[in-house]
């Protein structure tokens, strides 16, 4: 009796929670089609903010910067972080046990401190050596630095969950290092690499603070553009830009859902052929 009532209460709670989670996003999407610049009154449907947006060169270049930054940093971080995760797994009990401190440092450091430390460092280097002037390059470096530990930790966690005898089997079968990487590590790490790719991409897209402090005048990204538009009090296109970003996130979500289905279906057959 009580459990039925509890179940009912939980359903209601879940519904309210979904409203809480999606109302801010829905409101942004809804008012991006408003014919007047207001988030209190909907005066009629219009695409004028989108038209303005694509005619605004600053926004188009901010869009390009956002995509380039997210993809470049994620690809680099997955390679470097994947190698680090594997190296950490191999040598964690030996000479490199101190690595754990290095890997956790970016994870626990508040991102505002992270961003400021990078900014002051880049400024100091730039003054003395003339390299690393603020721009997309410094932003990619900063993003890679905070993405690498997360990738390394995911890959390491996957390796820890494996039977250590598998590694000995490779050794016993005289697998050359490249063979071990190609026929054992890569297939086994595929899910971890895929999920760390998505996580690193998410971290990069979600970040504002670190981008903000390492950006240069030519490397404005969409979140930085929105931020300065709000600060200047010019907000009409903000909802439209935000809607585009929300739309692309929903696409990625859909893709990851499909990928999940695909990999859970395909995993058995893969395991069968490789084993």
């Amino acid at each position: 009796m009580r459990s039925v009532r509890l179940d009912y209460a939980l359903r209601v709670f879940w519904g309210l929670l979904l409203v809480f989670l999606y109302a801010p996003l829905a409101v942004v999407v809804f008012f991006s089609f408003n014919s007047i610049n207001s988030s209190a009154r909907f005066a009629g449907f219009s695409l004028q903010w989108y038209e303005r947006l694509f005619r605004n060169e600053a926004i188009v270049s901010a869009l390009m910067n956002t995509v380039v930054l997210a993809l470049a940093s994620t690809l680099i971080a997955v390679v470097i972080g994947g190698l680090l995760g594997y190296g950490f797994y191999r040598y964690r009990l030996g000479r490199l046990s101190w690595l754990v401190w290095l890997i956790y440092l970016p994870v626990i450091m508040p991102d505002i401190v992270f961003g400021i430390a990078e900014m002051t460092f880049f400024v100091a280097i730039n003054e003395r050596l003339g390299i690393l002037s603020p721009g997309l390059g410094t932003m990619v470096i900063a993003h890679v630095t905070f993405q690498v530990p997360f990738v390394a930790l995911l890959v390491n966690a996957r390796l820890l969950s494996l039977d250590p005898q598998l590694f000995e089997a490779c050794h016993d079968l005289y697998a050359a290092p490249w063979q071990r990487a190609r026929f054992f590590l890569l297939p086994v790490l595929r899910p971890a690499i895929l999920s760390s790719f998505l996580l690193a991409l998410t971290l990069s897209i979600d970040d504002f603070v670190i981008s903000f402090f390492t950006a240069g005048p030519q490397s404005t990204t969409l979140p930085i553009y929105i931020w300065s538009a709000i600060k200047k009090g010019v907000t009409p296109e903000v909802n439209a830009i935000a809607t585009l970003m929300i739309g692309s996130v929903l696409l990625v979500a859909l893709f990851s859902l499909l990928a999940q289905h695909g990999s859970s279906g395909g995993k058995q057959s893969k395991g069968g052929t490789k084993a």
């Binding site: 939980l10 989670l21 109302a23 801010p24 505002i112 401190v113 460092f121």
Partner: protein, 296 residues
């Protein structure tokens, strides 16, 4: 000999790029930032010699006009807002995680995705959403005015309320995921046994559910409280000057105020408080689990 050589080469190939990246682009900058805190503020807001503790004195509130408690209030407010937001996140995340774990297995990944997707959008965009909802004249703001919570024609932001909502919204997924993982592994026989012994729902929760979900709760608390304490975007956009946290205080020294040593000193305090917080959580986790296992 050649074996050792090969191992070293392998180690360099796998570990060196990532380790160097973190060392050069985070450890060195952090050391530089820490050192900066002990320099003097120069004429253009840039740090110069001589070494001094001036920035720490300033941070503690000692200025030309004597002592002022502003910065101290900011620190206390940061801790208070972090605690409040974390507590609210826990209150929302427990029933959510429990509910997901009681649904049919094929629905659960989708339900988790639904929880996580909003956090994939950028922090700035999430705050823009709440700015839209809390702006003057919106149904939510009008309703609050009707209840007498705000003055008419005033929005619900900037305010401390808006900041807390923003913090809860930002960090909810980080609590739901670890709690869900704990609920999924829950040993239901313990719960059944407690019910058979006519334990009240509260007692069932306290003695059968809570201890089992404690590791998830502790992990979630770390994932929520640490970034919440360092929050910059939400407080800046939804709080205006009314709910500033220490992250805003630090950032201001590098942006508008141009007092880098003072900002660096603030950053040191942030890291120190974060580490103290981790220590406190660790001790709390040990005590709550009755010293049986190390939770963190």
């Amino acid at each position: 000999m050649s074996v050792l050589h090969r191992e070293t080469r392998h180690m360099l190939f796998t570990v060196a790029p990532g380790a160097l990246c973190i060392f050069v682009f985070l450890v060195l900058p952090s050391v530089y930032l820490v050192g900066m805190a002990f320099l003097t503020n120069g004429p253009y807001g840039l740090p110069t010699l001589p070494l001094s503790l001036q920035s720490f004195r300033e941070l503690a509130g000692f200025g030309f006009l004597g002592w002022s408690p502003g910065n101290l209030y900011t620190l206390i407010r940061s801790v208070w807002q972090t605690l409040l937001a974390t507590a609210l996140v826990i209150l929302l995340a427990y029933p959510a995680a429990y509910y997901i774990s009681t649904r049919p297995a094929r629905w659960r990944p989708l339900m988790l995705l639904v929880i996580v997707v909003p956090s994939w959008t950028n922090q700035v965009i999430r705050s823009v959403g709440w700015m839209n909802i809390f702006a003057p004249g919106t149904p939510v703001s009008d309703f609050a005015a009707l209840l007498g919570l705000t003055a008419p024609q005033m929005g619900l932001f900037p305010s401390q309320f808006a900041v807390i909502v923003g913090l809860v919204y930002n960090f909810l997924p980080f609590m739901v995921l670890p709690l869900y993982a704990a609920f999924e592994r829950l040993d239901t026989e313990q719960v059944e046994a407690a019910k058979d012994l006519f334990a009240s729902p509260m007692a069932v929760f306290r003695h059968a559910v809570f201890p089992q979900t404690l590791p998830g709760l502790m992990a979630g608390t770390v994932l929520v409280a640490i970034p919440a304490f360092g929050m910059y975007v939400v407080t800046e956009l939804l709080g205006g000057g009314k709910a500033t946290m220490i992250g805003n205080l630090v950032a201001r020294q590098f942006a508008q105020a141009s007092n880098w040593p003072l900002g660096a000193a603030g950053a040191i305090i942030m890291i120190a408080v974060t580490l103290i917080g981790l220590k406190v959580l660790r001790d709390l986790g040990r005590r709550l689990s009755g010293d049986r296992e190390v939770v963190l």
